[in-house]
């Protein structure tokens, strides 16, 4: 088999482009790789495809500051060069943050990334006052039952949220900072949690700020 190099790209999905779906982001990233003329590898078979893999999907409407994809290249290109090439063919709202090579034997992003950190911005001038108390009171209820496509799913809050959510005031806005554990059984959506804790009338804008690998209790970035 020919030599290959797995380039891990950290990218952002911001601004208006947070309204893109995961599939739309994936397709846009593939096209960016072609525009950047990166020496991407192509799968064998009847319909050859670019060898590219993504981290956990980001829902429509949610922004991401550090999202990831792994792109297999057929020859070595200095990571800074690859990153600059991608940056030159992407719009700011969906653009690379950092690039580095990882071992081809590394676990896939989808399997390795098990912790997601979020900032949930509360819209409509909600004050800091009493928020922490309400969040903590909700955490103490222990579980959250969510209906998804007609099925009930029950989350153990202590398991689903490995850190106690924090209320942070940022300029004149308030946000809830939280970490969510992702597993094969899915993960609790932060907007669903906030709606359950504070009521469905609260409008939120969600940003995934980081995706992390949990390694024997220690969290680290995949790059």
């Amino acid at each position: 088999m020919a030599e290959s190099f797995t380039l891990r790209v950290c990218f952002r999905k911001m601004g208006r482009l947070r309204h893109l779906s995961h599939l739309e982001v994936a397709r846009a990233c593939e096209r960016a790789a072609r525009r950047a003329a990166l020496p991407y590898a192509v799968s064998a078979g009847f319909t050859p495809r670019m060898r590219i893999a993504f981290g956990p999907a980001l829902p429509v409407g949610t922004a991401g500051e550090r999202e990831y994809m792994d792109l297999v290249l057929t020859r070595f290109l200095p990571p800074a060069e690859a990153c600059a090439a991608l940056a030159s063919v992407t719009v700011e709202e969906l653009s690379p943050v950092a690039c580095a090579y990882v071992s081809g034997k590394e676990r896939s992003l989808a399997a390795a990334l098990t912790i997601a950190e979020y900032d949930v911005h509360l819209e409509g001038g909600i004050s800091h006052e009493g928020l922490e108390r309400r969040i903590h009171a909700f955490m103490r209820t222990g579980t959250l039952s969510v209906e998804h496509k007609g099925k009930q799913k029950v989350y153990d809050l202590a398991e689903a949220l490995p850190k106690e959510p924090m209320v942070v005031s940022c300029e004149d806005r308030v946000l809830i900072r939280m970490a969510v554990r992702m597993s094969e059984r899915g993960s609790l959506r932060p907007d669903v949690f906030v709606a359950a804790a504070l009521g469905p009338e609260v409008h939120v804008a969600v940003t995934r700020t980081d995706l992390l690998i949990e390694d024997q209790g220690v969290w680290r970035r995949p790059l």
């Binding site: 601004g15 208006r16 482009l17 309204h19 893109l20 779906s21 599939l23 739309e24 982001v25 397709r27 846009a28 593939e30 096209r31 960016a32 790789a33 072609r34 525009r35 003329a37 192509v42 799968s43 009847f46 319909t47 050859p48 495809r49 670019m50 429509v60 409407g61 063919v89 992407t90 719009v91 709202e93």
Partner: protein
Amino acid sequence: MYEAAAPEDLWSRVEPLLARVERPARYIDREWGAVVPPAADYRVALMYPDAYEVGMANQALQVLAGRLSTLPEVAVERVFVPWTDMAAALRQADVPLFTLESCVPVASCDLLGVTLPYELTYTNVLEALDLARIPLRASDRREGDPLVVAGGPSVHNPEPMAPFFDAMLIGDGEDAVIELVDTHRAVTGRGGSRSEVLQALAEVSGVYVPSLYERAKGGLRPRAGAPARVRRRVVADLSAYESPICPVVPYADVVHDRVTVEVLRGCSRGCRFCQAGMVYRPVRERRADDVVRDAIASLRCTGYEEVSLTSLSTADHSQLEEVLRRLTRRLEGTGIAISVPSLRVDSFTLSLARLLGEGRKSGLTFAPEAGSQRLRDVINKNVTEDELLATTRAAFASGWRRVKLYFMLGLPTETDEDVAAIGGLVARVMQAAREATPKDERGAVRVAVSVSTFVPKAHTPFQWAGQLPTAEVLRRQRVLRDSMPRKGVELSWHDAEVSFLEAVLARGDRRVADGIEAAWRSGAVFDAWTERFSHSRWREAFAAVGIEPSAIAFEPFEPGATLPWAHIDSGLAEPFLLLEWERAQAGHTTPDCTFEACTGCGVCGALGADIVLAGGERHG
């Protein structure tokens, strides 16, 4: 003149609506290749009258945007029709229709250009005008309203939509849009009124100003200054115009999501039902060098995974094999596919099959249109069964496992024998396909059969024919179904009721506009979307305004009668069309002038154009 305030950026009012609608990527702009419009004196909104994912495929608007943006102080933006959920959200939040790039009200633009791709988009135009808060009818528009101009294939019978447009541009737009904008700016620049603008536009070649024509005995009568007939515009040489190299690359999943390179315009095969084959004459090919250069440059600029060589009949291009050989070599190992739509059975050669079969295989579609040789001669589809079978063998031997065949029901002179012959032909195609396929792969062999209903179109030899009454179409569909082999065949139909509406909208005169407006007022929009189309809504709308649609669709026109589109001069000589209509009924075929002698259609002489063959000649 007064200094207009900068139009309001609506984004902060649009964005909160996005959480409530499907596919917000339709409304957010910021795609790769989207141009931030400059501050400009003159703003143009170009609209495709359907949802984003349909309209983004349209190349004509990309070409026109490219042309207009070369003008100083002109900004060009895109507009599509919001899907029903977004339309409801906009109305509820009291937000007007906006342009994509700078998110300003469409009504704040100087010009709204709309392409009319086919009849079923007509209600979408009214929906967009209403959302934009532009009066639906040109007669109700005031000085501050944008000039609303149509173009595209359906303007060849402009009448059903004529009251909704200030002007309609007939034919190739490359040069005409520039003249149109220049004229508009010149007249408003010297303080001219809206009616002065319209008078001036009527003098631009190819521009039809409906309000300057009034109904009179024997058709429409032009007022002073308007030409008796509006002559179609045609550009002589496509090589003189840049093809859009860096089009906008959508995020959303859109139809024809790929690089498209126009390889030629026009087709003179002379199929007698085909409007495009009549009104885009003469054939003008682009050179192989230009096609390859543009395809490679556009792939590089967009990052697409597929390039499509488009035209009415791509395999007729005199240098197609050279183009394919060069592109295949350049794209080796990239995973990028080359697709060639609109192939003809008789020009899909074995070497073409091999060339196309090397890379990723895209779909293979042929259009025999009729099942019997007799009827294929009537419609002048000069394709034989032997050619179809030979082509099928070549394709399946080169690795294809599926072929799609288009047929039409209700063609003039059609009998039950012709209908049943479709089933027999499909059976023999299936057999040929299986024989050309290795034994262990024969289970995968598929023949898709798509059957539409004949809709008589303006400026074709069949323009005098009426459509077959719908009940009879339904009966013939049953005859066809009974004749069709089952195994490996995927049979699909066009809804006969939809084809009926198409005929009404394609053959009608200006009175039909009232029916279109009534249908839209009762909720008709996105009629081309099967789940949205309501046959009864249209019937009721026509009844409410006193229109008998069956008469419009089914009644033939007498040769010599004044047709609703008589004031539109497509360049085709009426005696040629009549002769073709007579030859059809006698079952006589007519050759293609790009392979044989001139057939006397009249276009080249009337429009001052000529056939352009990149390779010098075509080989039959």
